[in-house]
Symmetry: D2
Amino acid sequence: MKTYKLVRREARPDPSIIRLSNGATFGGDVLAICAGPCSVESREQIEATAKAVARSGANVLRGGAFKPRTSPYAFQGLGIDGLQLLRDAATRNGLAVVTEVLDPRDVEMVAQYADMLQIGARNMQNFSLLREAGESRKPVLLKRGISATVEEWLMAAEYLLLAGNDQVVLCERGVRSFDSATRNVLDLAVVPLLRALTHLPVIVDPSHGTGVARLVPPMTLAAIAAGSDGILIEVHPDPVNAASDGAQSLTFEQFDALMSQMPTIVWAAGRQLPTATLAA
Amino acid sequence: MKTYKLVRREARPDPSIIRLSNGATFGGDVLAICAGPCSVESREQIEATAKAVARSGANVLRGGAFKPRTSPYAFQGLGIDGLQLLRDAATRNGLAVVTEVLDPRDVEMVAQYADMLQIGARNMQNFSLLREAGESRKPVLLKRGISATVEEWLMAAEYLLLAGNDQVVLCERGVRSFDSATRNVLDLAVVPLLRALTHLPVIVDPSHGTGVARLVPPMTLAAIAAGSDGILIEVHPDPVNAASDGAQSLTFEQFDALMSQMPTIVWAAGRQLPTATLAA
Amino acid sequence: MKTYKLVRREARPDPSIIRLSNGATFGGDVLAICAGPCSVESREQIEATAKAVARSGANVLRGGAFKPRTSPYAFQGLGIDGLQLLRDAATRNGLAVVTEVLDPRDVEMVAQYADMLQIGARNMQNFSLLREAGESRKPVLLKRGISATVEEWLMAAEYLLLAGNDQVVLCERGVRSFDSATRNVLDLAVVPLLRALTHLPVIVDPSHGTGVARLVPPMTLAAIAAGSDGILIEVHPDPVNAASDGAQSLTFEQFDALMSQMPTIVWAAGRQLPTATLAA
Amino acid sequence: MKTYKLVRREARPDPSIIRLSNGATFGGDVLAICAGPCSVESREQIEATAKAVARSGANVLRGGAFKPRTSPYAFQGLGIDGLQLLRDAATRNGLAVVTEVLDPRDVEMVAQYADMLQIGARNMQNFSLLREAGESRKPVLLKRGISATVEEWLMAAEYLLLAGNDQVVLCERGVRSFDSATRNVLDLAVVPLLRALTHLPVIVDPSHGTGVARLVPPMTLAAIAAGSDGILIEVHPDPVNAASDGAQSLTFEQFDALMSQMPTIVWAAGRQLPTATLAA
């Protein structure tokens, strides 16, 4: 059999709901609001960001400690130190941690710090990494490859489930296109399309999906309206000086303004925002 | 000067609002709700559709009389007879008419029947047609070419304005992609992007943008949330037997169900639906 | 029937050969070598170019009098004056003329000056233009649309044949892609693919296909090796100051150097170069 | 510094030449002819193939022991047993071995069997794998990612050189496109483009580049004409029953026929074929 079966909608009586340790959920009535910097840069940066996004209503902290960078000369992340900083900042602010793992040898180690392992777009078909993450018991956030078809993406998820891990969330983050007006084309139609094809939750990353900070708020609202189970947004205390992805990061104020626009659209979509975290 | 200037946001103090004869507007607080069949097929078909979409809250009737078809053996439309049927059905139901013109020689004639001339995706860079439509005084709906950049699209609009016609509405209808899971990729991020670049209104066509009827309702809601000034939706009394585009057409019931979901999202987006048309 | 039939390989016992008035052929053993400027700019420019390319071995002169330009502010061509200059320069140098027609109303007029009507990439699905060119008795060079599938391209050719004109040559000129390293991606595999699907000849335009002058010679050789029935190359006396497409135009010297490399590859491909033109 | 520097053309006085243990070279006057099955399936299959391709003039044997497959249910390769079979077959026939490594933990092990490590399209930005292969002393064949820009591809090569391995060959294998008429679009213009940008050799894989066996011979000839330093072709004793990629594999007879067409085009391109291998 050469097509997916474990991820198919028909494989489960109900859509899957993935729960993280702090109570954040992906796939139920309550949306997952994941926010944080592209890269963990310092204790001050990640602490301030965690506090700010928690206060604005996020329940998951994102941040990269191991960064996949096109150039070997670009900032590659703080590694284990970054993981520790991320964990500390999240815990202090009642947030769960989602962070990327790049190497199959690092899965166990990253899993000690994270509540959810992110497999990035470049690694969607890194089958060694998928198998290793599949053997972990940690929830996995599986980003769509930069030019992956929906079929290929679901097949990548199938690797995870087949290896024993059914705590999988899909994340649309834009596909490569011919127009440089935006970094990628955010393909929101996959949200309702996946709803019919799979029981797995799907969230949207409008930061990578557009690459332009001012497009992030409207595309977040659009994602919710399309039925997304959550969002993943880059927030940074000082985007202009960010070590990576500054052009697409929101400031604390911009993120807070966006979160204040959310209740009506979330309500219109028949969903709920997470309740306030401990620190908020 | 090789870039656009008349369509630039800075060229006008305020965003443009395009008004059709029945009071429908594109670009103001009130959304334009354009609905109807891909092709006008018969008096019965277009009458029934006009009545149904008007009752559900549409204010513009779409329908093709001259059809651009990939195959010369596919249905090419009813021509002038189709225009007359469309006009009659629209007028009887208080709707305005938007319909495609394919040939520069037909612009004047089509303008006698239509309230708004559609220039389709295949003709976005048909400069003879753009010039002729630019010399008409009819509002123009300019669809994005199937792989047009935002820059090229705005340049096509610039041809219209330069020829003297500033009653132009842009319509996102999906771009060509590598994944056959949907017919096109609906690029909703252009909605807020264009808001910053141009004073022209922009609407979204989720029917061509996805090619799949069940994806049309969620993508309509997403388009509204992203800030679209209106929608263009294919509706047919019997999609399975439609002469063209049946797979992406909504039934009357599906369109009505979608329209009943609209008020909350429209309100959340800070916009309004058109008031009931005369016949509704 | 919704697929092509007149253009199918099986519709003819042998591959079609299209002959122009000066003896140039597309589709037989002898290649068609089409060269000239993007735009006709002046008598001096087109005369000098015609003389140079004829001397180097070209047998068809290309040059635009009506230019489809993304921007309405870019040079739009000399119109009828350009056609006359092109005709004069070609005749004096024993060359045939291929030139683009943009508007269905101009087909008859352009046909008075040209030996072959070019339908450009932007107009591949301009069905009014296809029908009008189909009713002309002039050979037609049908360029592939910028993101046209092979199926759509053959369907466009079918419009021409169905309208009565079977003197049709296909021209691959690159498709739109995500990488700005070249202007387009030259899809040479369509050459052998089309050989199996259709009896129509196919030539290659490496100038638009790459957009970079230094890539034109190697891609010309590659096109011949892949089985192309001819080439279409932009040549200009002073590319740096060309009114359009300077970056992809060869100088006279570069074109002559390329032509001197051709005999061995043409021989290796089992084909022949055209014999010297009258003026050469 | 965020751009490549070690791979730049200007970083070396001369283009790099990569030599394998049996004398095969990439980048000099003599082309590398790499052929073999997609997957190693059995001793009989790989022995027969090695013997056949060596006799026809190949000097490198390709074959996968670890297969990256979209579906977890598809054949995943024979693993170490496959490596041993591949090594034996190559050695007996005077061929070098190129084979893919998928996991950074396998680099050292695969390097014991292979003369050249292949990093496949899906792993072009698997930075852990690049670093590990960079620390190996084995030559690396770096395939272009399925929608990688030339800049991204060169950056991936930069990772290898920066880690200490300058024995790197680039391999164009087609990019993803909108047209399903071929599996990918073979982007031959990158061959001359890379010649100007980097000192690294570049070869072409027309099997993956087209996905259609009958297009492989003409595109091989086109690749040579464009200046490719070699070719990588799938050959299988029984393509119809191949465990993977049968549709794009040549039979022994087809490969032999192609090789008999090579001398004239290779000569026209100013290059040479490898001299007969020991076993041939």
